[in-house]
Structure formats: structure tokens, C-alpha cells
Symmetry: C2
Subunit: 531 residues, 2 copies
């Protein structure tokens, strides 16, 4: 399949007019053909208008039609496996095994949402039956369900070229809810984006969906992305990326004449607290797990554990020593792009020069052609220094973490209290520790979307109960998750029908419950028909 | 019970330092003692800090504890009936019968949320069980549920001195979710606010809840309200009021260093479409219902029908004539406040001078002492004029409506297409009309929160299925409702526990399901224990 370098405006291909970007091999420093051309502002308008027209049809697609589409996308992405295993490692530096597993995750996500909308109960159908005899006024018949919002703009991430990109979790959940999607392709993997984008569009054609249900736009800068977020017909935005990029687009969405929902997953340091019993009983095991989690995927995960809190004692010293050995012996990594690796090196340099921070491991790396090699870095400081230097709370995106030793319980709690909103927090403890540090857990519950016990934050399970979100600034909207089936609720709103005849109601609200879904009928859950 | 004129800072009363405001009798023009004193900025801080401390306890209140509290509030509000039936009509101009029914609605709302949280399934508990043997990685045990956000600031409305004020729907839903509440009392009914506020605080004491779970602040201007919205410890805001007020506070919430959820219910013209069959068959019946809906409560409802669309034909002419008679014979009304009645008079004057608008009814009113008398006003224009003069789409808050006649279907659809987001849209039609105007319904479904068939938008039923919300600018966040049990979802976020021992989980997530709630276990709804 030949790569063409053009945006997809519905089923058409974009023009060749815009600024040029290229894929780049971070392992070799090679520029990867073909040239990719930024979309024009006119093409943004065309894609969004096609999406708005497609919405008039696609919002009525049945659960079965949407699930067929999502499953066809998954099948077609699997069909791309050979091509993706060549192109994606080239433009990301990620190993083939990771790409393989990411293809699996991407297709699992698509099929999970397919199952969800095929089953159908997710629409939260509610029926309160009327009573014409109620005094002093008749009670109306009131029925409501969740409906899609309209065209959704999605900004793919750099670090998940498949699972959080063109056909990733945001796209799957927005399409499952009945919204057309316009993807702004991440410039770090344009070829992967084109391959997957073509698969999605082929699936849309296979399923006889209207043109505009899906488009992809390339953007060498920020103009096209901003135009998408501010286009009057775009009804919601999902973004995965840096805090600065997320905040800029968040402000653009909020300052529209009609502000729209904006979901950004931005930054998190994912603190890990090692409690005394666990440190005594599982020290080496925790060190091994932590080293693996910090360095997984060259540390380029939003759930990377960037802060580790433990007591300042001989156990802690032994733990730091163990971690020093493990991380010091780690291989060097290729990071995703020159921009990310240079930001990592710069952040590491700044922190290693901090007068209150000791650099325990700083892996020297080879000067490879791509300039994107990086090694793991382990920092150490004490709680008093950490608490009085807010710059130490900043995320370093890459295979690095900061050990903080505390000398008393109040310091430990203060570290928890001063945390910004986070995606996750992890506790390592015995059952006894959990009882003794209930107050720590209490604080963390108000700060994060996910609490992990005796595990590590990397490796986000895609399931119904997952919460991958958290209070600002971990995300722009802490009421939501971008992973798991609850992600669909970002792209819907409730719509109510009062006193409509059965024939004019959506199937989910009809008396005889033709979809056979769970509904709330007169305040009780039921799959029964209404009589 | 003597009124004191002081804010409530937790269980304490405010100081006497701030700017003064008085209740005002719009029927007589009398100022009503006592003087009410604006809270100080220091008192805002105290109230919010008390709320944040109370949150540490109240967020763990069981469904039973919260339902006891809400029911005790309802009982105590009912106990105030005699006092409210004296004071509230005085400071609102609303008749005693309306206050009586609003007390009923307020207590119904409180008890509806009490039932919801006592039953408990609303928390959307989800359990995905782990599998230590899964390859290549074990599957973690992942469990999640909805948790409260923290202190919520609530701005009471002027037009529902009970049902959307101190102990109204916003307060009931925020408290039900487990959030402390700080109310900014509406200056148009300070005495009612004090009576109800004392009832809520007495109920909090009766139920042994922590100080700070509820406070009320008076504000003669905007300073205290703005300070609440921008206070770092406030986690969400709900507001019912004008578009200008809502937009100003919405911008303040969005420009915080940490933006917070902001729910404003602002403005809506609630279009009514009368289709040909219904006009032929039910003309007089519709005219009578519409006249009643336009003038109900002196038109001071967010669901007031401010736009009526019908064909330009002899039936339409007869309908307009019928409506002219009905509205022309209507009694005059006392509006809520000098500010509202003067805004109404000014908007009516402007519209009646519009060169494309005919004033069919303009009720001259007596010059009563309060200066707040108003009469119903009926305007008429044609679709071409309406479509080319956007100023005609503005809401006029009061007993007025605008008839728009169209001469073809495309004009009818254009009127629908150009609508801003609305709380409601109403269709009057026969079964045949519904089939023939499916395209109109399609457009309206994307514009509103609630569709009404052969009824009127005023009279919002409080139930599980109700949606009182709608796309911007009807509300600031069209994904939500402020009436009905779904309103609770404005004040929660999902929190996930991964691999926690059963003993450390919230009751709703424990294996044996001690609360006996509906849960989603391994993707299926169930009330069973997990084994």
C-alpha cells in the first residue's frame, strides 16, 4: 500500500498545498518519505461540514450498525499488521513487539465499544410513565436517553501511535456514541496515521456509512488544530499530549462564542508510596517492579511513576541502592522524537543541577545518528527539600523518577496534600500498613482517578471499570475517563421526550423495549416492556 | 422566628460589616426589614474552608446518613410553611398558592434524592475481576464508582425562591452526592433564604453532620459570588439566572488556574411549533393552553414559550385572534422585582417599536406603588422578517411571546435550523403531522434538552427521566440536567481501585455487595455478590 502524504477529507484526499512534514526515524536520524502536506483551512471547513452532514445520518445508526463499523475497523487494522510492523517502528523507535501489542489493544478497544453499543444499555434509557388522573395536574409521560453531540475533533498522541491515535480509544468511543470524527494526525507518525486512516475509511465504505463520518487532517504546526477546535460545527474535542498543548487548546475551546466540551489528558507524576511493612517484606520485588515501570516504553507513558515516597531509614537506603543497580544496568532507549528526547535531556540536566537533588543514576548514552537515545535517570531528595521546591513536582516525560525520603508521618502526608491532580497514585503496603495509613489513602482519593495497591501504574487495563482520568491538571475534566467503556459518556448528552406517541420514540424508549436493554422504568431497573 | 439579616458561616452567623440589602415587596413598593448584610471576603474563605474540612467527613456519609439529612431538611422546610406563606409572597409578589406548591416541589425533590442515595445504585459501581493467569500479563482486579467532588457553590435563582434556591434542586443533588454546599443567597428573597437556610442548618445539627456541610452568604453586589467561584477550594458551581450573569461567572470558572465544572441554566425561548393538522383540529385548545403557559407565573419561567411558529393561513389568523382575546383579557401581574419588571418593560418597548413586528396585545397596566406590575404582550411577525433579524430571537423574560408565520416548509425548517440551544421545543401535531414533519423533529433533537408533544413547556416534572438542560446558551454545559435525578451526576467523578483488598474498598465495591446495589460486574448488570 503506497503512502501518499495527503489528508483525508471524507472519502476524498486532500490537496498538496500546505506546509510539509516528514516522518523521522529516531533510531537512525533518517527522514522518512513521503512528504506529508498540512491541510488547508478550507479543507478543515470541508471536513467539518461533511462531518456535520454525516451526523444527520450517523446519529441514527443502530447499535448493530455502529458495532459492525467498529469491528470492521478492527479487522482492517489487524489486516495492516505487516505494514504497521514495518512503518510504525521506523517512525516511533518503538520495538515491533510493542507495536504488535498495541495493535492488539487498539482492536480490543474497538471491539469492547462494539460490544457495548450492540448490547445497548449504555444509553441510560429512562421512562417515567404518565398519569392523566394525578391531581392537581396530570403527570406527563417522560422518557430520556443519551444522544451523541455531533462532530468530534480528536488529537492523536505521540506515545501511543495506534491505541491513542487515529483509531484509538478516543475515536472508538466517539464513533460508538454516534459522532463523526475528525482526527488531527500526530506529526510524529504520519505514515502510521495514513495507514490506519485508510483502514477506517475503507471500513466506513464497507459499512455504507455516509462520507464525513471520518476524516484525518495533517498539520505541520498548530493552525489546523486550532481551526478544528474553534470551528462552529465541532461539538467536542479530545486531546492526549503535553500540558502546554492541552492548556492552549482548552483555552481556545473555552473562549469560543459557544464553549464546547474539551477533554485533554495532559500530565501526571503518578506518585508511588512505599509503606514500612511493604518495604520490609517486599523491598527487592518492589524495586524490580518499579525499575520496570519507570523504564517501560522509555518512560514515555502518562502513567510513568515519576515520584516515589519512602521513609528515610536503612531499608530505604537499601531500596535506593537496589534501584540504582537495576536502573544503572538498564539498556539505553530510543525515544519517540528529537523533540521529546531533547526535552527529556533538558529536564534531566536541570534537575541534576538542583542543589537539593542527588543524581543516583545518570546513564550516559551513545551519540546515535537520530540523536534520540536516552538512558534512565534516578534522582533522590528529602521531603523537606521536595516540599519547599515546587519545581520538583514537575513531570519529566521519560525514563526517570525521583525518590523522596521522609523522616516522619506528617511529611509523608504533606507530600500527598501538596500533590496536584494525578491520573494515579500507588500504595505498596501490607494489610497492616493499609490500616495504619488510612489517612494517606483518604488524601490520595481526592487527588487521583485511579488508586493502585501493590502494583504499578503503567499498563492501563482496558475494561468497564477503568478510570484513566483525574483532577486538573492530570486532565482538563476530572469527571471523565479516556480509557474503558465510561469514555463514551464524554460524547453524549441526555435528550428527553415528553408525551410522544410510541411510534415517534427512539427504539430504546418504546414501550415494548425492542432493543431488550436495561432501562430505568418508574425508578427501577428493568428489561421488561412497559404496559 | 426572628429574621436576623446575617449570613450563615457553618453553624455561626456572619458579622454585620458588609453592604446592606433589603427584601422588597414588589406589590406594594415597601422595603422589608430586616437589613441583610453582605458577607465579607474573609467570611467567604471561612465558609469554604469549613466546607473543605466537612468534606473529609461528609464524603464518607452513607446513603442512609445522607437520605436522613435530606428528609430532615424536607421535614423542616414543611415545618416552615406558615412562615414562608407570609414572608415569601411579600418579597416575591408570588401568590400563596404558588408558594404552597413550591414548598411541595422542594420537599419532593429533597425526598427524591433521599430515595436515590438510600437505594444506592446511582454510584455506577463497576467491577472487573482480575485473572492472575492471563498471558502475557495478569489481569488486575479493577473496581470503580462515582465519588463527590468537594465544596460546591450554588447561586439561587430569583424566580423559584424555594425550588431553585437555598434548599432547591441544585442543593439537594449536590448534598445527595456527598458534597458540602455554600449557597449565595439571591438578593430578591433574603428572608426566605434565611428561613430555609436555618432549616437546613438545623437539619445538619439534628443529623450530627460536621459544621461546614452547609453555609449561606448574602451579597448585595457581585463580589462575594465571584470570590466563591474563584476560591481554590471550591470544586464546582451551579447557577440559575440570567445569561449575562451566567456567562460572567462561567468565564471566571474557566479562567481559574484550575478550571472547575460550572453549571449555569441561563436562557431559552422554548419554541412551540404548531403543525397544520393540530391547528385544524385543536386550534382553540392550543390557544388556551399557550395563553396559560405564556402567562403562568407572570411568564417568569426559564421554560416560558417565547416563540410560536405556525403557517400563514386563515387557521393561523384565527389562532392569533383567539390568542389575542385570551391574553388581552388576562389579569395584570406583579413581577418578582423592580429590576425584572423594568427589564421586561424595556424589552417589550424595544420589540414593539421594531418595524417588522406587530404588537397584537399590549396590556396597559396600573401604576401600582411597587412599580412591578406587568401585563401580557403578544407580538406577531413573519418568517422572512424573523430570519433576517436575529434580535427577534432574544429571550424576553416575562409574560410575552412572539408569533411567527411561515409561508412554506423551508421557512419553517430554517427557523428551526437557526435556533440557538434551548431547554425545550414543543410540537403540536396529529400523528400524521409527526410523520410529515419528521425533518423538523430531526433538527429540534439536536437543539434542545426536552421535546414536548401536544403539551406546553412550563411545569417541569421532577422525575428520573427529566432533562432540564440543553445546548449552550440554554445552559453552560449541555451534557447535564438541573432537574431530575440525573442532576446528581454534575457533582461527581469516577474513582478507581486496582487490586485493593476487600476490607479497604468502599462498601459499594466489596465482594459481598453489602449495600445490595445494582453493579456492573464483568460487564453485566448484577446485584449478586462477587465470588
Amino acid at each position: 500500500m503506497e503512502l501518499t502524504g495527503k489528508s483525508f477529507i471524507g472519502f476524498r484526499r486532500g490537496s498538496y498545498q500546505g506546509k510539509i512534514l516528514y516522518g523521522f526515524n529516531p533510531a537512525t536520524g533518517e527522514q522518512l518519505p513521503p512528504a506529508y502536506y498540512s491541510a488547508s483551512l478550507e479543507e478543515v471547513g470541508e471536513a467539518v461540514e461533511l462531518a456535520a452532514r454525516a451526523f444527520a445520518i450517523y446519529r441514527h445508526a443502530s447499535g448493530r450498525e455502529k458495532s459492525d463499523f467498529l469491528r470492521t475497523v478492527a479487522d482492517r487494522v489487524e489486516g495492516l499488521q505487516e505494514l504497521l510492523l514495518v512503518r510504525t517502528p521506523q517512525e516511533t523507535g518503538l520495538p515491533a513487539a510493542r507495536i504488535q501489542s498495541e495493535i492488539g489493544r487498539t482492536c480490543h478497544q474497538l471491539r469492547l465499544f462494539a460490544d457495548l453499543v450492540e448490547e445497548g444499555s449504555w444509553v441510560d434509557a429512562r421512562i417515567d410513565r404518565g398519569d392523566p388522573h394525578r391531581q392537581p395536574n396530570p403527570r406527563p409521560d417522560v422518557r430520556s436517553l443519551l444522544r451523541p453531540l455531533g462532530p468530534v475533533a480528536i488529537f492523536g498522541s505521540s506515545n501511543f501511535p495506534l491505541a491513542f491515535s487515529v483509531a484509538g480509544g478516543d475515536t472508538a468511543s466517539a464513533l460508538a456514541a454516534g459522532n463523526p470524527v475528525i482526527v488531527k494526525a500526530h506529526p510524529a507518525h504520519p505514515g502510521t496515521a495514513e495507514l490506519v486512516g485508510r483502514a477506517v475509511l475503507d471500513a466506513a465504505r464497507d459499512c455504507h456509512l455516509p462520507e464525513g463520518v471520518f476524516s484525518i487532517l495533517y498539520d505541520a504546526g498548530f493552525e489546523i488544530g486550532t481551526a478544528l477546535v474553534t470551528h462552529p460545527l465541532v461539538r467536542a474535542v479530545a486531546f492526549t499530549g503535553s500540558r502546554s498543548g492541552g492548556l492552549a487548546l482548552m483555552a481556545a475551546a473555552a473562549s469560543r462564542p459557544d464553549p464546547i466540551p474539551f477533554y485533554a489528558e495532559m500530565s501526571s507524576i503518578n506518585p508511588v508510596f512505599i509503606l514500612p511493612g511493604a518495604m520490609r517484606e517486599n523491598r527487592d520485588h518492589i524495586a524490580a517492579g518499579l525499575s520496570g515501570s519507570v523504564t517501560l516504553g522509555a518512560g514515555q507513558f502518562c502513567t510513568n511513576p515519576g515520584l516515589v515516597v519512602m521513609a528515610e531509614d536503612s531499608e530505604g537506603t537499601a531500596f535506593a541502592e537496589k534501584l540504582r543497580t537495576l536502573m544503572g544496568n538498564s539498556a539505553e532507549f530510543t525515544m519517540l522524537s528529537p523533540r521529546i528526547s531533547s526535552a527529556y535531556r533538558s529536564a534531566v540536566t536541570t534537575r541534576s543541577q538542583h542543589r537539593h537533588v542527588k543524581t543516583v543514576v545518570e546513564h550516559t548514552v551513545s551519540t546515535a545518528p537520530g540523536g534520540c537515545k536516552a538512558g534512565p535517570v534516578l534522582f533522590l531528595t528529602d521531603a523537606a527539600s521536595y516540599l519547599s521546591h515546587p519545581e520538583l513536582t514537575a513531570e519529566i516525560f521519560g525514563p526517570s523518577t525521583l525518590l523522596v525520603t521522609h523522616s516522619n508521618r506528617e511529611q509523608l502526608l504533606d507530600i500527598a496534600r501538596t500533590l496536584e491532580g494525578q491520573l494515579t497514585a500507588t500504595l505498596h503496603g501490607t494489610g497492616k500498613d493499609l490500616g495504619e495509613f488510612r489517612d494517606l489513602l483518604e488524601i490520595l482519593e481526592t487527588k487521583v482517578g485511579r488508586l493502585i495497591f501493590n502494583g504499578f501504574p503503567t499498563g492501563v487495563e482496558v475494561c468497564s471499570a477503568m478510570v484513566h482520568g483525574g483532577p486538573f491538571p492530570a486532565t482538563s475534566d476530572g469527571r471523565t475517563t479516556s480509557v474503558g467503556t465510561r469514555a463514551i459518556y464524554r460524547f453524549v448528552r441526555p435528550v428527553c421526550h415528553q408525551n410522544f406517541p410510541d411510534v415517534a420514540l427512539p427504539d430504546e424508549l418504546k414501550d415494548n423495549n425492542p432493543r431488550g436493554i436495561w432501562r430505568m422504568v418508574d425508578r427501577a431497573f428493568s428489561k421488561d416492556a412497559v404496559t
